[in-house]
């Protein structure tokens, strides 16, 4: 990434403290104390970092009474400048880091807020207002960052008087490390699943061997440490992290603790995945990844047993295995400070995730254990319905188009405005699904373009969380019906393969016997056909006479 750093202070470019940021990025330091000037290089920059020291901005030495307004004005000027930049460079990321530290005189501030404090509060209030509006703005509180190591070792008055650098070399390094973590998270999404062992991880002791009352949880001492750890886990779950138990126990022993132990913070409803059996943990984890359509690299594994940890490290390299602190008292802090789960925003969907994945795991489990897949699916009262896209659902249509990766034929990404346009001339539908596991909402988007002899499927995508119900076949049948209604004999699918969609789409093509066809042969059937020139695109066609399988699940005969 090309990064430009602007600061009110001199930051010693080329100093080895900046190593962590230099490692993956190209850095350019603007002339210091010149933050409000636009630099010549800013076209190429993908990220701009501001490092602001309030002491460089406000005149803290003046008498407080007279200057409040004028100092606040200076902050406003900077805020306005930042907002103007951010609003005109929406593709660029901005990280604003601020320090208000200079000295503490606790006697003076024991009755009144200091000018520094007041301007700091104002500055943050305004910045967080902006960060709500602009998703490309990130804020870093330098003083909080330094508080762990002590301000004394991070700030350096000597460096300031010698070369106008507010920070010590150590302070610079901490700043560089934290900034590179933020930049990494802008580019790479967070981990999604926390897989936990049970005995001596969620509580002390071994269930099955000990009476349930005898496990260590909640009491003072080690029991309190486990309780605090559970609180930290619960906090992550509330923010949309999916919890799974992967433990070698009897299933009922663990469920018994979840249901009956009074000190348990984690309840059965908080856990989406239960793999409590005597199988190899690596085998369980691979199964979870397959069932829930979650990449192994989105998993984090926490187990007190070093042998289990090493096995996972050796067998599934993608899974991040945490090395827990020796003293359990520090686990809660360690988990909350762990960066892998950190994300900039918690969305509405995050709140629903636990329930969503839980219902999916139960569905998979029941389907696996029933003798006949089809007769099981018939029993769960699946109802599907096609819906036109209206004002209330256009958001969801665009969201599905932007986010669906695996069952998605062409992976064309449409924004709300694009779908509004497509709707004018083409057939656009959403599909709704419900069954005994709940109302799954709008889970599929289909965009069809009508030609005289061909019905061209521009987009055909489906959310993964409802896979396994043959909804894709019901949808194919619906497309077929639309073709018949319009007197069109051929349905054309455009498949643009990539790493993520290849497996599911190829399976669908094989299962439904779609026939591959060359582009030049297509044009023979339909002269007016207007296809994008994607060199990776493959074309498949089916005839409306073809029978579609497994429709009996949806109470239909062929």
């Amino acid at each position: 990434m090309n990064i430009e750093i602007k600061s009110t202070s001199y930051l010693i470019p080329n100093n080895s403290s900046w190593g962590s940021l230099y490692k993956d990025n190209k850095l350019k330091f603007a002339e210091y104390n010149n933050i409000i000037n636009n630099s010549k290089f800013n076209q190429k920059n993908e990220c701009e970092i501001f490092v602001l020291f309030l002491k460089d901005i406000i005149n803290y030495y003046k008498v407080l009474k007279n200057i409040n307004k004028s100092e606040i004005k200076k902050i406003k000027l900077i805020i306005n400048f930042i907002e103007k930049k951010i609003s005109t460079n929406k593709k660029k990321s901005f990280i604003i880091s601020i320090s208000s530290y200079y000295y503490f005189n606790h006697l003076n501030s024991s009755k009144n807020k200091s000018l520094e404090k007041e301007t700091e509060i104002f500055f943050y209030k305004e910045l967080y207002k902006l960060s709500k509006i602009y998703p490309n703005l990130y804020i870093l509180n330098i003083d909080d960052l330094f508080s762990f190591h002590g301000h004394k070792s991070c700030f350096d008055e000597r460096n300031y008087s010698l070369f106008r650098c507010r920070l010590s070399v150590f302070g610079l390094k901490l700043l560089s490390d934290k900034l590179s973590e933020i930049i990494l998270r802008i580019n790479i999404t967070n981990k999604k699943v926390l897989l936990l062992d049970c005995d001596n991880t969620l509580w002390g002791g071994v269930v099955g061997e000990d009476e349930i009352e005898k496990i260590k949880l909640g009491q003072d001492g080690i029991g309190l440490a486990f309780l605090e750890f559970q609180k930290a886990i619960k906090k992550l779950q509330e923010s949309g992290i999916i919890l799974g138990l992967v433990s070698k126990n009897n299933h009922n022993d663990v469920i018994n603790v979840l249901d009956k132990h009074k000190s348990m913070i984690l309840k059965k409803k908080d856990i989406s995945i239960f793999k409590i059996n005597w199988n190899q943990k690596s085998q369980n984890i691979r199964q979870i990844s397959k069932d829930l359509f979650l990449g192994l690299d989105s998993f984090v594994f926490w187990d007190d047993n070093p042998i289990e940890r090493n096995k996972i490290r050796n067998e599934i390299k993608e899974v991040e295995v945490i090395e827990p602190e020796k003293d359990i008292s520090y686990w809660s802090k360690q988990l909350l400070e762990y960066n892998g789960f950190s994300k900039f925003e918690i969305t509405k969907e995050d709140y629903a995730k636990t329930k969503q994945y839980k219902s999916r795991s139960v569905f998979i489990e029941k389907r696996e254990s029933s003798k006949s897949e089809i007769s099981y699916l018939k029993k769960i009262k699946i109802k599907a319905e096609l819906k036109n896209i209206g004002a209330d659902s256009i958001d969801r249509a665009s969201q599905l188009s932007q986010k669906t990766n695996q069952f998605n034929f062409s992976t064309k990404r449409y924004k709300i405005a694009d779908i509004k346009n497509l709707k004018k001339n083409h057939l656009c539908f959403l599909a709704k699904l419900s069954d005994i596991y709940g109302n799954h909402g709008l889970v599929s988007l289909i965009i069809l373009k009508k030609y005289k002899k061909i019905l061209y499927v521009d987009s055909f995508l489906m959310s993964c969380r409802i896979m396994g119900r043959y909804l894709e076949n019901w949808l194919l049948d619906q497309i077929k019906r639309i073709a018949i209604k319009n007197n069109i004999k051929n349905i054309l699918f455009e498949f643009i393969p990539n790493k993520k969609n290849k497996e599911l789409i190829t399976n669908f093509i094989k299962f439904n016997e779609l026939a591959k066809i060359k582009k030049k042969d297509l044009i023979k059937i339909e002269k007016e056909l207007n296809l994008n020139n994607n060199k990776y695109a493959e074309y498949y066609i089916i005839n409306t006479k073809q029978k579609i399988k497994n429709l009996e699940i949806y109470g239909k005969k062929n």
Binding site: I12, N14, S16, R158, L162, F163, V169
Partner: protein
């Protein structure tokens, strides 16, 4: 501290601060300007690296006087 050990540590700091530059075996007579990158900014980075290497901190006065290896040798007790 023995002069030999001091020089070894200074050499390490030199290499870290000026990774692209060729540094003679005998560094005792090097000073600001001796290496291409050893300008005023380079000098700053070198002194900060020396501080790290010897786990010490020069006061403002001393810091601003250091311009050569000889100066460094003199200031490190």
């Amino acid at each position: 501290m023995e002069k030999k050990i001091k020089l070894e540590k200074i050499n390490k700091a030199l290499k870290k601060t000026f990774p692209g530059s060729k540094i003679n075996k005998n560094i005792v007579n090097l000073e600001i300007g001796s290496l291409k990158k050893w300008d005023s900014l380079g000098n700053l980075n070198l002194i900060l690296e020396i501080e790290k290497e010897f786990s010490l901190k020069f006061d403002s006065n001393t810091f601003s006087k250091i311009k050569s290896i000889q100066d460094i040798l003199r200031e490190i007790k």
